[in-house]
Amino acid sequence: MAGHEEQAAHAEPLPAWSLPREAAARIGMDNLLPQRVDRDWAFGGATGKGVKVCILDSGVEAGHPLVGELAGAVVVTLGEDGEPVAEEDLEGDLCGHGTACAGIVRSLAPDAQIHSVRVLGAGYKGSGTVLLAGLRWAIAQGFDVVNMSLSTTKRQLGELLHELADTAYFQGTVLVASAHNMPVESFPWRFSSVISVGSHEEDDSLVYYANPNPPVEFFARGVDVDVAWLGGGSIRASGNSFATPCISAIVALILSKHPGLTPFQLKTVLHLTSQNVQEGNV
C-alpha cells in the first residue's frame, strides 16, 4: 500500500534503535488523525477498495454469491520433511466456516480483495503447525488485514505466534483474531499486537464496542448472524468467529479511506469510533 511505502522511505538506516540528534529532524511524520475522530471520518463512504484481506481458515468457496470473486486461494500443508508448502487451493472450503467469514467481509467491505489461505482440513495432526505456517505465509505476502477466526491452545506454538504477531504489527499487517468463547488459554488473540474480538448480541454488523477490561479488546456482532455457507447457501450462526470478520471488514474500510494507518493507529481509530466511546464523547 502506498502509505506503507511512504513510511518506509522515512525509515532510518540501521541502527534504527537509536536516534542521533541530527536525525530527529529527518523523521517527521504526518499526523494522519484529525482532532476529532468519528465514524464518518473513519469509514464514511468507504468500500474497502484496494485493501487486501486474508481469510486464514477452512478455505473459501469460490464463486459463492455472497462472497464473489476471490483474489487468491492457497492451501498450506506440511511437506514430507515437515516444511510448510503453499499451493493453489482447488478444493475450496471443507467446512463452511471460512466461506462464512469471507461473506461477512464482503457484505461490509464490498470492494476489498479477499484472499483465502486454508490452514484446516488436512487432519487434526499438525493443525497447530499448519496454522502457524499459514500465518507466516500470509504475513510474508503483505496482506493488509488477516482475519483469524480461530486459535490454538498449544503453548509451545503460542511463543512462535507471539513473534509472528509482532512481525505483522511492525510491518503494518493487522491481525484480527477471535477471542475464545470458552474459559481456556489460547492464542493469538491474547496478544496486544493483534486486535481481539468477542461477541455482542445486537443485530447491527457495524456496531462495535471497546472493552474496558481487556484482553478481549472489541465486541462485534456475533449472535444469530446470517452467513454464507457451503453449496452457495447460507445459514444462521453464532460465535466470536463471526464477530471477528466484522472488525476485519471495518478495518478494511478504514484502511481504504486512510491508507498507511499503522495497526497502532487503527486500534486507536477503532477505539474512538466504538459505540460506547463515541456516545461518551458526544
Binding site: Y124, S149, L150, T153, H200, I235, A237, S238
Partner: protein
C-alpha cells in the same frame, strides 16, 4: 509405592470401560437436558488414527452410530476440533450439502446444532454436539457461556477417566501391577459387611510382606 503400582491402584479403583461409557452417556444426556435439545453426541479424538470417533449419543435410535469414524478436520465437528473453537449453527437444512454432511455424523438432519471442543488444557479430547435446541428464542451469549462451562466440566471428567484408562492399558502386560489393580478394584467394590473381613486379611498380608525388623 512405585509410580507403577500407584497407577495400578488408580486404574483399578477409578474406571472400568463400562464406567467410561457411562460417563460419556451421562455427558450427552445432561447436555441434552440442560439445553432442552432433541439430541446430543460426543466424538472422541483418536490422535493416532487422526480421526474422530463417534463415542456416545443420547437417544436410543441413534446408537448404531457409536463407533463410526470421520476424518479429524472436515465438517463441523472436524472444524471445531482443529480450530478448538465452538460453533453454533441454525437453519442448517437450508443447505443440502451441509445437511448431508451433518446427517452422516448425527443420524438425522437437524435444524440447528451447537458444537464445542472438549479441551483438557492444550489437548483436544473430542467434540460435544447438541442438536436442535428449542427454537422458541434466539440464541444468546448466556447459552454460549453455559455450553463452554459444561464442555469444560465434561472434559475434566473425561480426562480423569482417560488417564485411568491409559494406565490400565499400560499395565496390561505387567502381571504384578495388574494384580494390584485388580485387588484395588475388588476392595473398592466390597460392601460394608465384607469390608471388615477384607481389612483383616489385608493387614495379615501386609504383615507377612513387610520386612521383619530386628
Amino acid at each position: 509405592m512405585s509410580d507403577r503400582l500407584h497407577a495400578a491402584v488408580a486404574a483399578g479403583v477409578i474406571a472400568s470401560e463400562e464406567e467410561f461409557n457411562r460417563l460419556l452417556r451421562s455427558i450427552v444426556e445432561v447436555a441434552r437436558a440442560i439445553f432442552g435439545a432433541q439430541a446430543s453426541s460426543i466424538f472422541l479424538l483418536d490422535e493416532a488414527a487422526d480421526e474422530l470417533v463417534f463415542a456416545a449419543v443420547a437417544g436410543e435410535e441413534e446408537q448404531f452410530l457409536v463407533g463410526r469414524r470421520i476424518p479429524s478436520s472436515t465438517g463441523v465437528a472436524g472444524w471445531v476440533a482443529s480450530s478448538r473453537t465452538p460453533l453454533v449453527l441454525e437453519d442448517v437444512q437450508a443447505d443440502p450439502r451441509f445437511a448431508r454432511d451433518v446427517a452422516e455424523n448425527t443420524g438425522y438432519v437437524p435444524k440447528g446444532m451447537m458444537a464445542v471442543p472438549l479441551l483438557d488444557e492444550e489437548r483436544v479430547l473430542g467434540v460435544l454436539q447438541v442438536l436442535d435446541r428449542p427454537q422458541r428464542s434466539r440464541f444468546s451469549l448466556q447459552e454460549m457461556e453455559l455450553l463452554g462451562l459444561f464442555a469444560t466440566q465434561a472434559a475434566v471428567a473425561l480426562s480423569l477417566l482417560e488417564t485411568a484408562r491409559s494406565a490400565r492399558a499400560a499395565l496390561a502386560g505387567d502381571e504384578e501391577a495388574s494384580l494390584v489393580a485388580r485387588l484395588a478394584g475388588a476392595l473398592e467394590r466390597l460392601d460394608e459387611g465384607d469390608r471388615a473381613a477384607a481389612d483383616g486379611l489385608l493387614r495379615s498380608l501386609t504383615g507377612l510382606l513387610e520386612p521383619r525388623r530386628g
